[in-house]
């Protein structure tokens, strides 16, 4: 099959299913069609990733009339890894939704279109196309063709405005080198302002994660993983890839690291105070994302592998956390363990790699705030850990267990998913990270992931069953603490001659321009 057709397969699967679902609404089989199509799209992306040679990238052009914005697909380790993870997560979310009852809405068309739009963001070949795909993504998840629609208006507009940053970065690239394509742009094209512009949509999406999760309770929320985390992580990693894997300068890296770590600390602290389970999960996810962002500031291969790991595995974790499960169920316990970022969780592997990288650069003190963040997250997550009352084998349980298994056997994803993605961001020399069935070796240190996972499982199990472990919780501030928001003063009425002042100022300015030599 020609590459041009192969690259379109995920889109064809998703959009084909969307057409079928749209033509026969409210059929029971629509859910299965959606799951199958999304899963197929994810597997297709994964197959392409496996077939990709190390360091290889393929640009598949479809329309080349715009030299600075070709309609083309970019297939490389980063895009295929993110697409695989995102689409498989989307399929799992759909499967979970299918198996859960109590919600009579028919979300399949919207979800398929949202998955396709996210896929477009990830596969887009240039920044301008990414911007367009982000707008389509916003349109898909809100369904707000009518721009005055009240549904999630504030959030939608915030994201749309933040996305202008990406447009400015694309414009900056076009101005510098005549293209915003991912191929052929020298790594010094993007200076600090362009990076800050790209950070805007990333930060907006991470903030949206905090705002939306824990809102109106659907049985399964599609947005956190597919609309917020996946595009945010991908955008940041892609921008890093365009910049050669490093930030413009060291002060920027330090400031960003400090800011992201502080956000992680704040979110974890807030999670500790939060009573609502959904809000707590959202805050912990933001803390996780903030730590991933902090580790994205590093300029060495190990750090790149660490942040790639964190971002990639945050997508399925956010998906899992968006599935409503019964209190005291096994998947809930597994999710809390993963959110706690303790040894034995997926996040811990990434943090361990990041710590090694920081240590190698003589920045061991940088590990301290990260460690404090992890401790706070662990306290917040484990404080509400309950002993599972029943053991049912349902999709969330398998999913959560799968994540813990990945933490125990990093070899499953490290070589085929994480390292190819990281190698797209920057050169990862062979031997930087070596995975084996019982652990990983990086920077000359061995991390016995399997042993750590087993020990933690035993420890937590023992604590929960025998000691009825209950971590200390802080009281939530009592009601009555109201923040008095100052009311805006009424806008003054301007006298009618005000317009003459305006026109006069304009006339003076034009005169100055005319007479300026």
């Amino acid at each position: 099959m020609p590459l041009a057709a192969q690259a379109l397969l995920p889109f064809l699967a998703l959009l084909g299913a969307a057409v079928i679902v749209q033509r026969r609404p409210r059929r029971a089989s629509n859910g299965w069609i959606s799951v199958a199509a999304t899963g197929l799209a994810g597997i297709t992306a994964m197959v392409e990733l496996v077939r990709l040679a190390p360091g290889e990238h393929v640009d598949v052009p479809y329309l080349t009339t715009f030299p600075y914005a070709d309609l083309a697909i970019r297939l490389d380790g980063l895009s295929l890894a993110f697409a695989s993870v995102t689409l498989i997560t989307a399929a799992l979310l759909m499967l979970a939704r299918l198996r859960l009852h109590g919600d009579r809405r028919d979300p399949w068309l919207g979800w398929l279109l949202t998955a396709a739009a996210t896929c477009a963001v990830i596969f887009a070949h240039n920044l301008l196309l990414v911007y367009i795909a982000l707008q389509l993504l916003t349109l898909a998840w809100t369904g707000a063709l009518d721009e005055t629609a009240r549904r999630r208006r504030g959030l939608r507009l915030s994201v749309q405005v933040a996305d202008i940053g990406l447009l400015l970065a694309a414009a900056s690239a076009i101005q510098s080198v005549g293209t915003s394509g991912f191929s052929g742009v020298p790594s010094d094209t993007f200076a600090l302002p362009a990076f800050v512009f790209v950070l805007l949509p990333v930060v907006a999406r991470v903030a949206a994660l905090a705002v939306t999760a824990g809102g109106p309770q659907a049985t399964v929320a599609f947005e956190p993983a597919i609309v917020w985390v996946a595009p945010a992580g991908y955008l940041l990693m892609r921008m890093l890839a365009l910049m050669g894997g490093r930030l413009p300068d060291r002060p920027t890296a330090v400031v960003l690291f400090a800011a992201a770590t502080l956000v992680a600390l704040a979110m974890a602290a807030l999670a500790l105070l939060e009573r609502s389970a959904a809000r707590r999960v959202a805050l912990l996810l933001v803390a996780h994302a903030a730590l991933a962002l902090a580790l994205s500031t590093g300029a060495d291969p190990l750090m790149t592998v660490a942040c790639t790991w964190l971002w990639l595995l945050l997508v399925p974790l956010a998906g899992l956390a968006s599935v409503r499960v019964a209190a005291g169920s096994l998947p809930e316990a597994f999710t809390q363990v993963n959110l706690a970022m303790i040894p034995g969780s997926t996040a811990f592997v990434g943090l361990w790699l990041g710590s090694l990288a920081l240590n190698a650069r003589g920045l061991l003190f940088g590990v301290i705030p990260v460690g404090v963040g992890v401790a706070l997250s662990a306290t917040a997550a484990l404080s509400r850990l309950k002993r599972p009352r029943s053991l049912r084998l349902d999709p969330p349980t398998v999913w959560a267990a799968g994540l813990l298994l990945i933490a125990a056997f990093p070899i499953v994803v490290m070589g085929r998913l994480v390292v190819p993605a990281a190698a797209t961001v920057r050169l990862v020399p062979g031997g930087t990270v070596a995975a084996n069935p019982i652990g990983i070796v990086a920077g000359g240190r061995f991390f016995p992931a399997l042993v750590v996972s087993l020990v933690m499982a035993l420890a937590l199990g023992f604590a929960a069953w025998r000691l009825r472990l209950k971590a200390p919780t802080l009281p939530f501030p009592k009601e009555g603490v109201k923040i008095n928001t100052p009311t805006l003063p009424a806008l003054p009425r301007v006298p009618p001659w005000g317009r003459f002042v305006l026109w006069g100022a304009f006339a003076v300015a034009v005169y100055n321009v005319l007479t300026r030599p």
Partner: protein, 524 residues
């Protein structure tokens, strides 16, 4: 001595026109036109006298009542003051923009004609005099530019014939049975123009005697836009006015081009008078550009500088005037494309000057909107989204770049403002059709608004960082504008709902999906 006779004839005729009524006044008006023709014959060549045919015909068509209209002291004072000021300004302009080595009083006569037209238009004693003023302004525009940039007799006569258009706009409507066939023909012609522009055929210019029209890609695209706007959005029976717009963008001779633009403004303001005076001021400023080009010497930097400023200021004023009606549907795209074409000759330092003025114009647009709201909150508020799009249009036109993105953004925004954001819809729409219409008029891709605004930001950043940031702020405001406006659109210029309304969403989606094709057209 003979060189002063046209001026003497003009002054005598002017006095007669102000002091008489009926046939005598008509004769006096013809006398002013004859004086201008005489002046042209002496300034340029005798062939230019052909210019006078149209204006004299128009003056003869506009009959005056035999009895003088009673006027008050205030009215009389205002009329006298207006003509005095207008003549002084005309004299000043004639002295600052001399044609060759000719005496001032000879070269000032066409300017005087314009002053007389402006005075009658600004302080008319009755409606026919107002129309006569428009006729004289159109004729004077042609005469002044003919004096600065000479043309052959055919072109001169056509430029003069534009003076008939205000009368045609006032009195002539397409007969009912012809309206639909004419609209469909215009749409067909637009399609042909688009195909020709897209294919990139190498017809540079079509020549008939000394009259010639350009048919480059950008001009074909502009013509297509104007034809679609004329067919689908002009008041019923006035579809033919789009042809004036086509003449504006395609005529090679500046005299014909600018006279046609003046005629278009006159015709456009027949039904909707909002922004009329500003549109004429804008035309006056824009019209200075070809005159400055004609009289410029190779060493005169100030003239070139003034030319850039005139283009920018005229553009800002025409945008400010184009809020509703045919001014927006036809005059705005015509003037916009003409300025875009004129920008190709502007040097880089003067382009920066132009960009400064358009940026200030963009700020002025937004500031004026806010100020008007702060002054009178009970009045009808301006449509925020339109004002922001106008501001982006200014930035896009001024952002001339090597990649052609500024031109592309400007073309997309002109299509959006002139065709898409006008309230013309088929009677009933629901379901998929409703969603299509909603999408076509939204900021979402693939609507033309999204494409135009995004391109404008990119193009503005190519020009300068300040312009880019201003454009980005405007785009951010554009995303928020639906909160303030709802679904508000500019009102339709007196047109019943018809299936032709479907052209609008189709054009929006087509342009939004394939902006690359438009860029291709603009490059040929």
């Amino acid at each position: 001595m003979i060189l002063y006779l046209p001026a003497a004839l003009f002054v005598v005729s002017l006095l007669m026109a102000y002091g008489s009524a009926g046939r005598r006044r008509q004769a006096a008006t013809v006398g002013t036109l004859a004086a201008a023709a005489w002046s042209l014959a002496l300034l340029v060549d005798p062939g230019s006298v052909a210019w006078a045919i149209g204006p004299i015909g128009a003056a003869l068509l506009l009959t005056r009542p035999g009895k003088r209209v009673n006027s008050s002291f205030e009215g009389l004072t205002r009329r006298v003051a207006t003509i005095a000021v207008a003549l002084l300004v005309a004299l000043l302009l004639a002295s600052r923009l001399p044609v060759g080595e000719n005496p001032l009083l000879l070269s000032a006569v066409p300017w005087f004609l314009g002053a007389l037209g402006a005075a009658w238009f600004a302080s008319p004693i009755d409606q026919p005099e107002r129309l006569q003023g428009q006729v004289l302004m159109v004729a004077a525009a042609a005469a002044v530019i003919l004096a600065a940039v000479p043309a052959g007799p055919v072109t001169a006569s056509l430029a003069g014939a534009m003076a008939l258009m205000p009368i045609a706009g006032e009195h002539w409507r397409l007969p009912g049975p012809l309206q639909l066939p004419v609209s469909l023909t215009m749409l067909g012609l637009a399609a042909v123009a688009v195909v020709l522009a897209g294919v990139g055929t190498s017809i540079a210019r079509v020549v008939l005697f000394d009259f010639s029209v350009d048919v480059g890609g950008a001009i074909l695209l502009a013509s297509a836009v104007l034809l679609v706007a004329g067919a689908a959005l002009t008041p019923i029976g006035s579809e033919w006015t789009a042809l004036l717009g086509v003449l504006v963008v395609s005529a090679s001779a500046p005299s014909l081009r600018w006279a046609a633009l003046a005629a278009l403004i006159a015709v456009a303001t027949v039904l909707a008078k909002e922004g009329e005076q500003l549109a004429w001021i804008a035309f006056g400023v824009l019209g200075l550009a070809p005159v400055l080009q004609g009289v410029a010497t190779s060493t005169s930097t100030s003239t070139v500088r003034a030319q850039a400023v005139a283009l920018a200021l005229g553009l800002v004023l025409i945008v400010l005037a184009s809020r509703v009606g045919v001014i927006r549907v036809l005059v705005l795209p015509s003037a916009g494309f003409v300025v875009m074409l004129a920008l190709t000759t502007v040097t880089s330092p003067n382009l920066v000057r132009l960009q400064w003025i358009t940026a200030m114009g963009a700020v002025l647009l937004v500031a004026r909107m806010v100020l008007v709201w702060l002054i009178d909150r009970s009045g009808r508020p301006a449509i925020v989204r339109d004002q922001l799009l106008f501001a982006l249009l200014l930035l896009a036109i001024s952002a001339r770049d090597a990649l052609g993105l500024g031109a592309l953004a400007a073309a997309l925004l002109l299509i959006d403002l002139a065709i898409v954001r006008i309230e013309v819809m088929p009677e009933r729409w629901a379901g998929t059709a409703a969603r299509l219409v909603l999408l076509a008029r939204s900021n979402w891709p693939p609507a033309v608004t999204f494409a135009g605004a995004s391109m404008a930001v990119i193009a503005a950043l190519q020009a300068s960082l300040a312009l880019g940031m201003l454009a980005a702020l405007l785009l951010a405001g554009l995303q928020l504008a639906p909160l303030l406006d709802g679904h508000a659109l500019a009102p339709s210029p007196q047109r019943p709902r018809s299936p032709l309304g479907w052209v609008v969403p189709a054009v929006s989606i087509a342009c939004g999906v394939a902006p690359a094709l438009l860029l291709r057209m603009l490059r040929f």
